[in-house]
């Protein structure tokens, strides 16, 4: 199965980091990413620019509406993601727990939808 691991952390805390701490974080992410590339779990992954650079888009009555910033104001903001291949949720959780950001932020683990409605229905056992 594939899982999207979404990394949330407090940008306020992040901005307070000094250079040495930043370098350490970058190095930790490098090591972690290399390790999941080598183990064959890695499908994709990126860091994101801070939420101050975000624009939220909605279309209402045919009109495009844009707002400055992310959809919701929260204590932690989405800061990056990994897309991984894992045999089950336990394996995905184990990978998520090794992401450096899990130590001070949080990682949301979401299964990727298998876009085959027939398969999903057949497996649910309902006609």
């Amino acid at each position: 199965m594939q899982y999207l691991l979404m990394i949330y952390r407090s940008e306020a805390e992040l901005f307070k980091m000094n250079d040495a701490e930043r370098q350490k974080m970058t190095a930790d992410y490098g090591t972690f990413t290399q390790s999941i590339i080598q183990s064959g779990h890695f499908k994709a992954g990126d860091g994101l620019q801070p939420s101050t650079t975000a624009t939220t888009v909605r279309v209402r009555e045919g009109k495009v509406l844009t707002t400055d910033g992310p959809f919701a104001e929260t204590r932690e903001q989405l800061g990056g993601y990994y897309l991984v291949e894992a045999k089950d949720l336990d394996a995905a959780i184990a990978i998520a727990a090794r992401i450096p950001g899990a130590k001070n932020g949080s990682v949301e683990v979401r299964p990727i939808m298998i876009y085959s409605p027939e398969l999903v229905q057949a497996r649910s056992g309902r006609p």
């Binding site: 949720l89 336990d90 299964p111 085959s116 057949a122």
Partner: protein, 414 residues
């Protein structure tokens, strides 16, 4: 065979039959539906014919065939890719005789899946009661005091999560087993405590839930023999539950430990509990929370009366618990035991110090424990205030009546 006897077989076999079926057909919902069909077939056949010598095997076989039929029907009008997936499934479903160890593993798989940490605690409890214990959705709904429809939806969502999120149908690997087992035991204990002292409502106890919890722990002890934490929890629940008949009056009022008629306690259950405590304490390893709590319950069970209880050792065991698994409940119980050794004044100091540290914020039994200590110290006005606070803090009618009784006694004394 009588319908009631058949119902009992269903009740006893649901968990294990379902556990094996889920592995065979690879899907919770399909397995549940097929088992329901097998029950329906049994209800038709068993009253007039001989009941099979192994009812569970019969049920699993019939249900498996029903599931295969259903898959075949679906394949006939479904796309090719579904067919391919299910060919593998059909192969797996055609199995030879299996040994009992494999079937035990199925039951453990089911328990660990229902108690997966990716579910909220109450979802773990609901899934376990529904699938492992074989309670109906209506019965599980009653246990949670919610309506059947809401519970049905909660269970559907949980089973959907198992399938869509890829929660494995497996007993955890060795290095994760200890932690995951603790989660399972927490679920069992949650079921028990809700049965032992209900959170709210008219009745103090809900013995059906306490019995289910004991049944689950027995099962786990049989499936994973020689685990201290399992034996400890089973012993703890048996020893507490043995006092059930003494814990309330016929009218449903609470009888506190000091006033209980100890001849009402279930001696056979106490004997079993004491033996398990010994076994748990003899197994190697560091002090383990459930075993230590069971050892405390054993001291109460052995004592001839409230005053001749080994309070000193009980206070000491609570100190061990405070080291290995500190919590507000343990702090309060420790203080209560200290009050029996060193007097209520010393216990009140402990509680007030703890409260000042914020260690008991929002803990609803705190005012009740304070009230009792103040009453024993003869500080009637403060005791009265504490009982009023205790009354406001609980939703359970029998507790409210207990506090009202205490308030009336205080009025008489002063």
């Amino acid at each position: 065979m009588l319908p009631a006897e058949i119902e009992k077989i269903f009740r006893d076999e649901t968990g294990r039959a379902l556990a094996t079926l889920i592995r065979l057909v690879g899907d919770f919902d399909l397995a549940e539906d097929a088992l329901q069909e097998a029950f329906a077939a049994a209800l038709e056949r068993w009253p007039s014919a001989d009941v099979p010598s192994n009812p569970r095997a019969w049920l699993v076989n019939v249900a498996r065939n029903k599931a295969i039929d259903r898959i075949r029907r679906q394949i006939s009008f479904r796309a090719k890719e579904a067919e391919l997936t299910h060919e593998a499934l059909l192969d797996a479903a055609i199995l030879p005789e299996e040994d009992s160890a494999a079937l035990d593993d199925d039951m453990l798989r089911l328990i660990f899946t229902c108690c997966h940490p990716s579910f909220a605690a109450e979802v773990q409890v609901a899934l376990t009661l529904r699938t492992v214990c074989g309670l109906s959705t209506a019965q599980v709904a009653r246990a949670f005091l919610v309506n059947e429809e809401a519970m049905g939806q909660r269970l559907v969502r949980a089973k959907q999560k198992i399938r869509l999120a890829g929660i494995p149908y497996e007993v955890p690997e060795r290095d994760a087993l200890g932690l995951r087992l603790r989660g399972v035991l927490a679920v069992i204990y949650l079921v028990f405590t809700e049965g032992y002292v209900a959170t709210s409502g008219e009745a103090l106890m809900r013995p059906d839930l306490a019995r289910e919890a004991i049944r689950l722990a027995r099962l786990l002890d049989a499936l994973m023999p020689g685990r201290r934490e399992v034996k400890g929890l089973l012993a703890l629940m048996l020893l507490h539950d043995a006092r059930r008949a003494g814990r309330q009056t016929k009218g449903g009022d609470i009888v506190l430990l000091e006033e209980q008629d100890r001849t009402l306690w279930d001696r056979a259950q106490i004997t079993e509990g004491l033996k398990l405590v010994e076994e748990a304490l003899q197994l190697p390893g560091r002090a383990e929370s459930y075993a230590v709590q069971a050892a405390i319950a054993a001291l109460h069970a052995r004592a001839p009366n409230f005053h001749d209880t080994d309070w000193k050792q009980i206070a000491g065991l609570y100190e061990v618990l405070l080291r290995i698994s500190p919590s507000p409940v343990i702090e309060l119980n420790h203080a209560a035991a200290v009050s029996m050794v060193d007097g209520p004044a010393r216990a009140l100091d402990l509680i007030d110090a703890l409260q000042a540290r914020g260690g008991l914020d929002g803990y609803e039994l705190l005012p009740a424990v304070r009230a009792d200590l103040l009453r024993r110290l003869g500080r009637h006005q403060a005791a009265r205030e504490a009982y009023l606070a205790a009354t406001a803090a609980t939703q359970l009618e029998p507790l409210r009546r207990l506090y009202a009784r205490r308030l009336a006694e205080l009025d008489v004394e002063s």
